[in-house]
Structures are given as structure tokens and as C-alpha cells.
């Protein structure tokens, strides 16, 4: 099962490398959002610096989730049938998609993070903890967005509908990640927030695993 999931993830990343949808569409769109925010605020450098982390996490959530339902992984009926006939279980398929999206999300968030530091000059310590927070956030968002992508697969107006489903379910991740960074910059303990992120992640992972097979049936 793990081999199948990793193989699907590898395939998705290969397709993405060729199509470059994330790099040419989602990343510029996210950067545009980061640039638009200070312009809307005006010339108030301390305020811009203070809201920098919030802008980063919101943009990562709102634009990052688009990665999970990029066109390059949109399942057509025959494609789905082929994967099923190859003996790949729906759970492997779900996790393969989620892993590929998580990898792309981490890359997206890294690029966005560099842009946010340059644009906002936020007062946050760049420690290895930041990497762990980004990893937890990206993985959780990838799982919930893959779940929403599967639930809305093949529907007209899929993108806004999936966003409506993902945003409320991913808000605990946003709160956990943002508060963890806030605690890091204050020098207080971040363990409760990391535990919260991990707990949300486990719930989402269990929900995704259990829903994979019924969703496979519902897509037919």
C-alpha cells in the first residue's frame, strides 16, 4: 500500500514538474495577494511588519489549497478506472495525492515565506521549529484539501465549492500554526500549539483514510 501511495505521489509530482501549474499559476497568484495587502494598508511600516505573519498564513491557506485541486491531478473516469484496475486501493490513491500535494505545499510555502520576509520584515525568529510548523500545517492542509477535492470531484463550480469546504475545516490548522509562531516570537512554549496541530492532523488523517473507499464509489 505504501509503495502504491509513493508511486502515485511520484507520478503526480512528475506531471506537475512537466506542467508547472503550481509554479506558474498558484505561486504568482499567492505573491500577488501578499503584495496587494500592504498596498491596501498604506504607508505604515510597523503595522505591515506586525501583520506579516498573519498575511503569510492566510495566503498559504487560501492559495495553498488550490494546489490540491490543480488541473494536472483532475481525475477523469478512465484514469480512475485504470488506477482501480491496476489494483491500487482507494486509500493508497488518497495518500499518494495527499503526499504529492504536501510536497508542493511545502515548496509553495517556502517561496511565499521568502517573499513575506522580504516584503513585511516580520519580527519572527527563524529557527528549526518554523520548519516543523510549516511541515505540520502543509501536511494537514494537503490532507483536508485532498479530501475536499475528492468530495467535489467532477462537479461544476468545483473550485469555489471545495474552498468553502476546506477553509472551515482547515481553520484549526491556521490557528495552531499562527499561534505557534506567535509563541515562538514571544519566547513562550509552543508545545501546546504543536500538539494541537498534531491532533488535528491525526483526526484529518483518520477521516481521509476512512472516507477514501466510499468516495471512490461516489465518484462513479
Amino acid at each position: 500500500m505504501t509503495t502504491h501511495a509513493l508511486e502515485i505521489a511520484r507520478h503526480d509530482l512528475l506531471v506537475e514538474r512537466r506542467a508547472k501549474e503550481t509554479l506558474t499559476v498558484v505561486v504568482p497568484f499567492g505573491l500577488a495577494a501578499l503584495i496587494a495587502l500592504p498596498m491596501a494598508i498604506g504607508i505604515d511600516l510597523p503595522l505591515i511588519s506586525r501583520i506579516g505573519p498573519a498575511a503569510y498564513w492566510s495566503t498559504s491557506l487560501l492559495f495553498g489549497m488550490q494546489i490540491a485541486w490543480r488541473n494536472t491531478v483532475a481525475d477523469t473516469g478512465p484514469n480512475r478506472d485504470l488506477i482501480t484496475l491496476l489494483g491500487v486501493s482507494p486509500v493508497s490513491r488518497f495518500w499518494g495525492r495527499a503526499i504529492a500535494s504536501a510536497v508542493l505545499l511545502v515548496a509553495f510555502m517556502f517561496l511565499l515565506g521568502v517573499a513575506a520576509i522580504l516584503l513585511f520584515s516580520p519580527q519572527i525568529p527563524l529557527t528549526p521549529w518554523m520548519l516543523l510548523i510549516v511541515l505540520l500545517f502543509a501536511t494537514g492542509l494537503a490532507i483536508v484539501a485532498t479530501l475536499a477535492a475528492d468530495i467535489t470531484s467532477g462537479l461544476s463550480g468545483r473550485s469555489p465549492l471545495a474552498s468553502v469546504l476546506v477553509v472551515p475545516l482547515a481553520l484549526p490548522l491556521l490557528v495552531g500554526a499562527a499561534q505557534a509562531v506567535e509563541s515562538l516570537s514571544r519566547g513562550s512554549g509552543i508545545l501546546p500549539w504543536l500538539l494541537m496541530l498534531a491532533a488535528v492532523e491525526i483526526v484529518l488523517a483518520v477521516a481521509g483514510t476512512l472516507a477514501a473507499k466510499p468516495l471512490e464509489e461516489a465518484a462513479r
Binding site: 463550480g157 465549492l161 477521516a207 468516495l215
Partner: protein, 237 residues
Amino acid sequence: MTKVRIVMALAAIVAAYGLYLAIAAPPEAVQRTYARILHIHAPSAWLAFLAFFVTAFGSIMWRVRRKPVWDRLAASSAEIGVLFTGLALVTGMIWGKPVWGVYFDWADARMASTALMFLVYLGYLALRRATPDPQLRAARASILGIVAVVQVPLVYFSVNLVRTLHQTPTIRPGGSPIHPAMLQALMVNLAAFTLIYIALLMGRMVVGRLEEEAASAFEPVAGAAVVPPRLNGAVDV
């Protein structure tokens, strides 16, 4: 529809009595008369929780039995749950402004998590509306209906898990700290809201069945495209 009317009439009688008790109950020691809005707020919130559990139950039953009635139950209950959640949020805000000084306190775990729950179930209704095929709609919505219910206990226990502005549950095992007259008014209003929920649920399920029948009446049947050959000069009879 007669049963619905009977339950609705019963709900109206109990609600009128509940309203009388809510007005007649003594004012709260600190919040004075503002506390009376809680006779609408608390039952709305409880009924929202119940409605979402019924949605999850209907979703589970649909997955087991695959009968449209269970999907109808889940959908109808979710719609009413969203209505009650909205009512709980609005009445909470109306109460919050004079008592807490703000309409919505972001630092309050109960308020934030209730708003989150409201959004999740709006998403559930949006998903249903976006899926035209009834079988597909039931299959996908049932998964979301089961997954989404996980947050309901978290919303309920949020006041115990995180110490925030919102008070901890007033009605708890081993006695309640509120005045007996207020408790009586609260319980009667809870009964009234439960009856309103049952009447709305029954009515919505009837409407849902009629909608399904109307939709299926216009579905093309197998062989509808096949027409008999027409000879020159033939007329329709």
C-alpha cells in the same frame, strides 16, 4: 401534513407558555433583563447540536441501507441545524454587546468554534446543492455529514477545554446553580424548540419527498428517444 400541523400547534402552545415563563422569571442578578434572551439562545444552540447529530445518524443509515429517506433526514436536519446555529449566533451577539461589550469575541472558544461549525454545515448544504444527481449527492454528502459531526462535541466542550468568556454549562449533573423559575422557563423553552425542530423536520422531509417525486417525473425513461415511424399523411391521435 396533518401530523406536522399538530406538532406545530403543540409547539406554538408550549412556546407561548415558555415565553410567558421567560418574561415572568426574575431578572438575573448581574445581567438583569438581558439574560432573558438566553431562553432563545441556549435552546437554539442545543437544537443545533441535536440537528447535526441527526444529520450524522441519517448519513450513517444511508451508507448502511442506501434508502433515500435517510438522506432526506440528514439533509433536512442539516438545514434546520444551520438555521438554529445562525439563531444561536445572532442571539449570542445581541446578548454579548451589552454584557461583554462586543458583538463577537474572537478570543472566545465557544463563539469561534460555533461560527466554524456554522460554516462547515453551510459547506455541507452547498455541496448538496452543487450535486444534481440524487445518488451521487447522497453518497458524497453522507461522508461529509459523518466527518463534520466530529467537531460538534468539541464545540460543546470548548468552554471546559479552554477557559474563555463564555460560561460553562449551566445545566449539569448534580444540580443547577440557576434560580428554579429561570430553570423552569429554560426547560419549557427547550421543549418548545424541540417540538419546533420536530415539526420543521417532518415538514421538510415531506417537501423533500415531493421535490424528489417532481424531479423524477421529468427524468427521461429508457427508450423515450425511440419514436414509431411516421407514414406520410399520418396525424397524431
